[in-house]
């Protein structure tokens, strides 16, 4: 899932400004592969554990002395706009900050925040998308 230039991004109520993109990646952290004696191909493939990683990229203008801290838990809410009111979506996700890194060049500064999604229940998708 990719959201370019979301209308609004908040983390635990605090507005994160200058967000240019948010990506939500899903990857298996435990894959089950089972083979039997009938041939070369797996006859059971399953993902028993999965990790949802969110990456938020901000353009930073001027000084910024506040940034999230790794380990911080909060609800990330972003509004994905479509250029009009029609089709706007709200994405909510409870997640934990894993890392914060900054890149500075002569042309500007960006901050990348990586978060790991956390589910209230193990069988519930932590990323909730709803229409506005």
């Amino acid at each position: 899932m990719i959201v370019l230039r979301p209308d609004e991004v908040k983390f635990e109520g605090s507005v994160w400004g200058g967000v240019v993109r948010v990506s939500i990646d899903r990857a298996s952290s435990r894959t089950i592969e089972g083979y039997d004696e009938t041939g070369a191909y797996a006859t059971l493939v399953d993902v028993a554990k999965q990790r949802v990683t969110l990456r938020v990229t901000q353009e930073i203008e001027g000084e910024d002395l506040s940034s999230p801290i790794p380990g911080e838990l909060g609800e990330l809410v972003l509004i994905a706009g479509s250029g009009s009111e029609a089709g706007r979506k709200r994405v909510r996700c409870e997640c934990v900050v894993e890392s914060v890194s900054n890149k500075i060049s002569d042309y500007g500064a960006t901050r990348s925040i990586t978060l790991i999604a956390q589910s209230d229940a193990g069988d519930e998708d932590p990323v909730q998308v709803s229409a506005i």
Binding site: G34, E37, L44, D46, V47
Partner: protein, 126 residues
């Protein structure tokens, strides 16, 4: 064709393979019998007993269904349960073997399906 033990489809819910343990003459060091490490030599003591291990994963769509599959295997490993024929997926048959034990490989994995790994040891006593 499916595998079976005593005509029961114990392993068909998921992938599984059959492994036959070592075969041939059993060579015993004399030092072991004598209890003296300085004694040289070995002797033959019959053949290795048959051991066949079925390794695989049980899979089910619910907790209760998975437990039913687990109980079905475990009950065949209980003391005094009769021996029977073990048949692999190609029809190879090991006659009159017992299920000695089953070991579960860790916790249940919960993805699209519920599954748990196992190793079931079959064999016969000479």
């Amino acid at each position: 064709m499916g595998s079976s033990f005593k005509g029961l489809d114990l392993f068909g819910s998921g992938p599984h393979v059959f492994e036959v343990d070592r075969q041939g003459r059993r060579i015993i060091p004399l030092s072991l019998v004598a209890g003296d490490a300085s004694v040289a030599g070995t002797f033959e003591s019959g053949d290795y007993e048959l051991r066949v291990t079925v390794k695989g994963r049980l899979s089910a769509l619910s907790e209760s269904a998975l437990w039913t599959l687990r109980y079905a295997i475990a009950s065949q490993a209980a003391f005094n349960v009769e021996e029977g024929d073990l048949v692999d997926q190609h029809g190879r048959t090991w006659s009159d073997v017992k299920l000695f034990q089953v070991e579960w490989s860790g916790s249940v994995d919960r993805g699209r399906v519920l599954s748990v790994g196992y190793e079931a040891l079959f064999g016969m006593n000479a």
